[in-house]
Symmetry: C2
Subunit: 364 residues, 2 copies
Amino acid sequence: MRLYKSVRKMVATLVDVARMAQVSTMTVSRVINNKDLVGEATYQRVMEAVEALSYVPNSAARSLVSRQNKAIAVLIASVVNPYYGLVMEGIENVAEANGYSVLLINANQQEKYPSCIDNVISRGVSGFISSHLNLHQAHIDKLLKHGIKCVLIDNEQDLDGIASIKSDHRFGASVAVEHLIGLGHRRIGLIHGNLGMNLKDDDHGKEEKYSFNLWRLRYEGFIATVRKHGLHIPQDYIIQSDASIEANVNSGMLAMDRLMDLPSPPTAVYAGNDLFAIGALNAVLHRGLRVPRDYSIIGHGGIDATKYTFPVLTCVKQPRFEIGCHAATMVIDLIEGNTREGQPPVFEVIRPSLVPGGSTGSIA
Amino acid sequence: MRLYKSVRKMVATLVDVARMAQVSTMTVSRVINNKDLVGEATYQRVMEAVEALSYVPNSAARSLVSRQNKAIAVLIASVVNPYYGLVMEGIENVAEANGYSVLLINANQQEKYPSCIDNVISRGVSGFISSHLNLHQAHIDKLLKHGIKCVLIDNEQDLDGIASIKSDHRFGASVAVEHLIGLGHRRIGLIHGNLGMNLKDDDHGKEEKYSFNLWRLRYEGFIATVRKHGLHIPQDYIIQSDASIEANVNSGMLAMDRLMDLPSPPTAVYAGNDLFAIGALNAVLHRGLRVPRDYSIIGHGGIDATKYTFPVLTCVKQPRFEIGCHAATMVIDLIEGNTREGQPPVFEVIRPSLVPGGSTGSIA
DNA sequence: AACGCTAACGTTAGCGTTAACAATGCGATT
DNA sequence: AATCGCATTGTTAACGCTAACGTTAGCGTT
């Protein structure tokens, strides 16, 4: 006789419940899954046993047999980035409402992607959401091969046939600029991040064509809109800054300083993200000037911090919560086969909207 | 002959790898777990097969047999709360470095706790961390009964014998007040949240004694410190506000307005959290007054938003990243049995530190 | 009365992995 | 040469659960 059970078994299993309720394990299984027909009396007896033993189903066993574990892996670049909070919240909400769990995975460096992907596969999750990463076809293919349904949020590259959600950054930029123009501004500055052109030819990047880049899209939206209104924007009104999470606000300040130092500075600035905008705002205040009296400033993103500034920052807001909800709904639909077979993958574009604050005003 | 395999098997398993490498499954298992001795040649052969089949171990099967799934569940009240970001980051970092995954669970309402706990148990995680919740002994007992190791971060109630991490809120408050007194302030206001006394006697709360409440501790720290310096603080310098995440900044503004309207207002304010402080700051600026010229303001927490204000907010900073790291290290130690059997559970107290900013200054 | 039908429940096997033990082979030791 | 020891690999059963199918009893139908 082997001594497998040396570690005393402390947790009740289906077998224990079955024994206690004097039924077969299958009946217990049916009861706790609310399916098939089970007699009323039996049902009660089983439930009592479940209570008495405080039985909780073992999901490892479940997913082993069902090849589904009702979990969704979420890959994001940084938990700290205030942008993701609401996205996560949206995902979590929908997931929870559908009985799914969320596996959070930090993919802060591109080199880590492969191991993250393996991790995801190994965990046997049913669904996968990535947010604002730069996943390649190969990564996704591996996931798909393992039967994992994928949804991408604002992936840098366009990937064929993968369900995805994108923010309409170009549109957002145009909303911002239209707002400023509507207020009478004709000299408008732009602070943006890395446009993703002229990439260094490193090993990974050689064959990549960035068909999607947040900064370039916002830049293009800006240019298109000012052009549409026939405004002439001098080259030195457009400043590229460091958008890394650590530098953000600071580089916004530096950029604004440069703009204010121009012989003929802009009267309004569209900052490509909220932290730039906050930095710009602070730079103005630092000189003892006022917003929006001296400069109007508008941000893009809609993070909470925009509500904490004085004056409150006007910004273009991305519906982050909704994006998260959408993404989760999409994966779950994919997992549960709610989408018709032949149908092409969902490909949603979400439009941001203007949130008026106190940092923009009519030109004097 | 049954038709089990009707869904074509698309993912390679140990058996496939074993067959390809002409060895037993056990040998493959040994190879991928890098343990026991495996011959060099065999090792290579197996690894090749693993590569060729792009085999990824099935963690459901693993955890079924090992009763461990190298996952840690993290229960927090709100993903959006900027406070948790860095805590999560710390947890994630340590977890990942040790091969653990993080299961994120949103427990935004106290009524949801039981189902969250069941969820955690069902998922069969090895470890459990909760952050800033109000878990009861019963919740934890259920987890422990199922062999799940628990660590609590700033749980509202003290629970016997459970490893936990606490911030020294009282000390933090004293640091803040000492800082203000050091600058010459003698009329100091306090904005705080619900002290958790005089609780309504609802069904759940009848037998509860809150031995730990963030706001009360900070309040006590404030009182003790001003008393130590022999300062007289009139009752109307102390304002209780709504600290819910939605109201935070606004209620900080309202509170500061009330303070400024006093016939003899304080010269400095210790706001019990950063968002209160930001609100207070904005209230001052709104009146066209200046910080710290007219009022000094200090916050407590150290969220990123403190760096975005103008002037930058002086605050007492809780080492959130470190707290997360600690918590994760503690659970993993518990899980892997690195702690001696007889040893009492770890019970750590973390002290915050002052982060000087521009919102506090010497009294005129 | 023989039949079929169906609701209610039971049996069996298998999901992919690993712990425990067994077996093998080969050089070294006595 | 027989024995021992060790390194390496194999065999078996079990983890907890559920899909697929089998069985039973009670009912109505012809």
